[in-house]
Symmetry: C2
Subunit: 145 residues, 2 copies
Amino acid sequence: MKLSSRTRYGMRAILELALEYGKAPLQIKTIAEREDISNKYLEQLIAMLKASGLVRSIRGPRGGYLLAKPPSEIQLKDVFLTLEGPMVPAECLEHPEYCPRCTDCATRQIWQELQNAIFGVLESVTLADLVERSLRSKKTGNYHI
Amino acid sequence: MKLSSRTRYGMRAILELALEYGKAPLQIKTIAEREDISNKYLEQLIAMLKASGLVRSIRGPRGGYLLAKPPSEIQLKDVFLTLEGPMVPAECLEHPEYCPRCTDCATRQIWQELQNAIFGVLESVTLADLVERSLRSKKTGNYHI
DNA sequence: TGATATCCTATTGGCTTAGTAGATTATTAT
DNA sequence: ATAATAATCTACTAAGCCAATAGGATATCA
């Protein structure tokens, strides 16, 4: 099990925007350079973030992208779901009628617990938290924990 | 994010084996019928479980498959990793040299926490637990919680 | 009006998934 | 012995997704 590049790149990109919150808009080109992501690909990822209302844009020269809300109001869950798509380990979690068998039920509970565990993490952290962590590790120079 | 059919089917299949632990071997055909899975496909999934040592087989008539260890000694993590493959949200978790940038670090922590949360669930439950849950829900008839 | 930067749509190669198909081998019961 | 049974092995395939790449259109500022 692996996260898509979409999610990994996108998370890094929106963190860049969070780090610049309150300042001038950031351009795709800049983010792509800083994060070493293909310009054109990043364009699409940011479009997804914009479509879901997490990011807004300014066109033309001196334009770029801005966080649509304060970092403290954006949970990682929001970003994750936008990029990775719906978090449904098994269909029967959303549509119990898919689950006519008894033994399914026990496994179904597990998939439910897995989903809860993942959401637990992603809901407990906001972009503001990420910014704080990011600045702290920059200060101490401890890139790897 | 969704689990593969491999993992969902395979987990149900090995649960069937756990439910029959100590009894006669279960045949592919039987499991496939009970769980409504393609015979031929299930064959391959069980082969994976056998290759990883969780299941053993007896060939010929009256043959079939058996759990290689008591259900209490098989964590769901073992089954999951066999079927779903290695759980590495991001490459930089295993190879920190992939992580030259500072902002990566904050996201990297998150992927680490996600991995821990998932493993936490999958390590805390064994097939014996699943069997117990399964029998209980069969008794009460509460298939959906 | 030209430069800048977002926006939009289409296309692609490569990989994985979820099977299907068919033949082979080992074991048991008659 | 032999026929039936059930696992084992290998190969193939259609469909879908991923991670880009490409090229042009549109809005905005100086």
